[in-house]
């Protein structure tokens, strides 16, 4: 039996983008740190206020999901060399998501949430990709144009 492969993104998925910073996600304070870092970078690179709020909200949702549903994870921010696009990857080694379609449905929650985080993040981020395997963790990639 092969060892469980983590449902991760790699260089192929990131193309020419380079790593800007990396964070550990453990507490709700870490979710605040990463969404503030994303917002700061976007503002510095001329993104509109609406674009910043939308993307930072999506970031907050997926970071919180890693903390709440997977016991923590890691978060990376990538930018392309000409700084025209920002990509974030949030990954964890949690239980994975059995039915992604269902998890993306508004109102579905396995805990006491509202079940609007994942579906909401997908609507807010436009470029949104999720890879997950049962027992193999969950990775979410989201991009925004600057």
């Amino acid at each position: 039996m092969p060892s469980p492969s983590y449902a991760a993104f790699d260089e192929k998925d990131l193309g020419a983008q380079v790593l800007l910073s990396q964070y550990k996600l453990r507490t709700s304070g870490d979710a605040v740190t990463v969404r503030q870092a994303v917002a700061r970078y976007m503002k510095e690179h001329g993104a509109t206020a609406l674009s910043v709020t939308r993307f930072a909200t999506a970031v907050s949702e997926i970071a919180r999901n890693a903390i709440v549903h997977a016991g923590g994870g890691e978060f990376s921010i990538y930018v392309d060399p000409r700084a025209k696009q920002l990509t974030v990857v949030c990954w964890d080694k949690g239980p994975g998501i059995e039915d992604v379609e269902l998890a993306l449905t508004d109102g579905y929650t396995s805990g006491g949430g509202l079940g609007r985080g994942l579906g909401g993040a997908k609507r807010l981020a436009k470029i949104f990709e999720i890879r997950t395997a049962i027992g193999g963790g969950t990775s979410v990639l989201m991009s925004v144009n600057l």
Binding site: T27, S28, G29, V32, R35, Q36, A39, A49, L50, V52, T53, R54, A56, T57, S60, E61, R64, D106, G113, L114, R116, G117, G119, G120, R123, L124
Partner: protein, 117 residues
């Protein structure tokens, strides 16, 4: 950068200014402090000022609803003031309508509403 969420008495209302980087533990503590303050003071209303919030996600949205719920149970009218337009647009996209929450354009408006009751 880390601000402290404050509760101040303004006329007969408690003004709660929520900071952008509020954490889960601070929220629990805030719920506690708010309910104590409502019962200690003779207040007509509670005004939640969220103008410092850069984003409101599903978690913070739920917190706002809970704070409003607590103050309503303790017989204080509740208003949310200072929601940024970008936050309002994003909340609608998240599908969070916060139906039980009364919003007012500004602190002045909220105080005027409270004086009327």
């Amino acid at each position: 950068m880390a601000g402290v969420t404050s509760i101040n008495l303004v006329e007969h209302a408690l003004l709660v200014s929520i900071q952008d980087d509020i954490t889960d533990t601070e929220i629990l503590e805030l719920q506690d402090r708010l309910s104590t303050k409502i019962s200690e003071n003779r207040v007509d209303g509670v005004i939640l000022d969220i103008s410092a919030l850069e984003i409101v996600d599903t978690f913070v949205g739920r917190v706002i609803a809970q704070l409003a719920g607590i103050s309503r149970l303790l017989a204080a009218d509740t208003y949310v003031v200072g929601m940024r337009p970008t936050v309002a647009v994003t909340l609608v996209e998240l599908g969070m309508y916060l139906p039980e929450i009364r919003t007012a354009l500004s602190l002045t408006h909220a105080l005027a509403q409270l004086r009327r009751v």
